[in-house]
Symmetry: C2
């Protein structure tokens, strides 16, 4: 067990797109776990778009990260010392103290993972909060119904790729948008989406109309902005939007314009609903059962983009994530 380890601190609040200078790699002492605590060697950490909001100094749904303090977020690691009953050295756990090589965590705040269900890092992706976000958004928030035509934006991303695959596995027609030809090919050829387009190739409304000539019933929104307006325009009666995030605006320094066609929400009886996965922990069991079965049967895949290089590359991985460098779940390998 090392005496010192590294962590990523927020050196200053980003203005617009984050840059490396907004972050600092610091070496800090590794404390001993107190009663009920664990010492965890982090092996995988998650970078997620929602973290960008926490870097601003304003109250969002989550409190802002503090300056000159370590960032945090999803991580998976191996327990190297335990003073918490029920979790032992050698166990693997998922927890919220990422962005550091070693974490001391309250044993109540971690979840032991069952390696028989999937590889450890899957519990940050397809079997983790990411997967649950896709599941809850699609089934509970958008209230997926038989026959719905589903549109997913950010469809090659961690959440979007699973939302689309879940809808496909249930027999729905699924259209996805993504930000590069390679991602579009991934959606069509590897994930079996019925249609996919690159939003750089033309107005989203036009491309969506071509890809979904009969319109859509469900829009899983990871993007906001132009995509949301286009989706509202394509909605059929009683359509539903699960508003999961709006990455298109996360780096914005000015408030982005809203959809100009919101009046359609009335006449078409649409529902737009925002959600946070943290409110839906009661769905974890059903989610895990369904998704792990689909994974075993090979009916869905948990695609990952793994960034090697340890903790010092984590800031750049996050910067690249916001620029769309990932396909599927973006993970930083801390194994060294």
């Amino acid at each position: 067990m090392p005496q010192n380890a590294r962590e990523v601190q927020l050196a200053r609040r980003p203005s617009g797109a984050p840059v490396p200078e907004d972050f600092r790699i610091a070496e800090v002492e590794v404390p001993d776990p107190a009663d009920d605590e664990l010492l965890i060697r982090n092996v995988w950490m998650s970078v997620d778009p929602y973290m960008r909001g926490r870097m601003n100094d304003r109250k969002s749904y989550a409190p802002p990260f503090e300056l000159d303090a370590p960032l945090y977020g999803g991580a998976v690691g191996e327990v190297v010392a335990s003073r918490y009953e029920g979790i032992a050295e050698g166990d693997w756990v998922v927890h919220g103290l990422g962005w550091r090589e070693y974490a001391v965590a309250d044993g109540h705040a971690v979840r032991r993972i069952d390696p028989a269900i999937g590889p450890p890092q899957a519990f940050l992706g397809v079997l983790g909060m990411t997967g649950l976000t896709a599941y809850v958004g699609l089934l509970d928030i958008a209230a997926l119904r038989d026959g719905d035509i589903v549109f997913v934006s950010g469809a090659a991303g961690a959440v979007g790729s699973l939302a689309g695959q879940l809808a496909r596995a249930r027999g729905h027609t699924v259209i996805g948008s993504a930000g590069s030809p390679a991602k579009v090919a991934f959606l069509r050829d590897e994930l079996g989406f019925d249609a996919a387009f690159d939003y750089h190739d033309g107005p989203v409304a036009e491309q969506l109309a071509a890809a979904a000539p009969d319109g859509i019933d469900v829009y899983y929104d990871n993007v906001g902005g132009e995509h949301l307006e286009a989706a509202i325009g394509a909605m059929r009666m009683h359509g539903r939007v699960a508003m999961c995030g709006s990455i298109s605006g996360y780096n914005a320094t000015e408030p982005p314009p809203g959809p100009r066609n919101l009046a359609l929400v009335v006449g078409r009886r649409l529902t737009l609903r925002g959600f946070l996965v943290g409110d839906h922990a009661d769905r974890r069991q059903a989610f895990e059962a369904e998704v792990s079965a689909l994974l075993r049967e090979g009916r869905i895949v948990g695609r990952e983009t793994v960034v090697e290089g340890g903790i010092e590359v984590a800031p750049q991985a996050f910067i690249d994530l916001l620029a769309g460098a990932n396909t599927g779940k973006m993970l930083v390998s801390l194994a060294g």
Copy 2:
């Protein structure tokens, strides 16, 4: 029974705010009712904001009005000839063939009204589609819950004034916005709203923040535009917006800008839901029972703005409605 009677036709499609030249008063023959039909002498007709959308030549939730054909909409009248079993001469009915002095209607498409419940014209307002719209929007679409703080825009209008009163009658704190000092006084002094403001007096967001310092849980939206953005900004966690209409944009020739703060819908877990009252006929019985009791007890009032002068003043009444000339339900008296 006259041989001829007058009706209002759409002479041309309005561009922006309607003007008198968009309408034509025509004298037409009054046909005899065929089997299953009724001849109705219209005594009251309704002018409603939603009619503006039907004057455009594009598919809305309702088909557009035809040029050189009579407009239609809610009306109440007395049956003067009946070939429909179950409705007799002298009965009063509510139906959808307004904008004309005499209507020949399919007996299946009218509803006989019980004069013991309220005066005939109330079935176009507080006891009619208008009232049901307020009721369904507040209770079903916004899913009003104990303790909710409620904001209503267009609160001195037909729907808004009832939505606010229904919430008040259930013990909620209610804030309303309206477009004149007289309307604001009406909300505060006659309807007992907890707070009310004139949206001309300053930014809606600032006035709403002052009127609802703890924020709001429910927004009953009759207006759209700046009001919707302000309401989203004032929403507390799990807040709900019933999107009933957006009169601020009905005369617009360019699509209005959407709210710039839609990203809040995610973090605050908001729901924005549009609806049309026509989908909710199953709620009429519950609505009528509750609202007629509240009316009898004097706990709500069905305020009306009556325009006298017969069918020839109906176009101007409609033009004035869109400009906000009404307090409560706007009706045209055709009694002559």
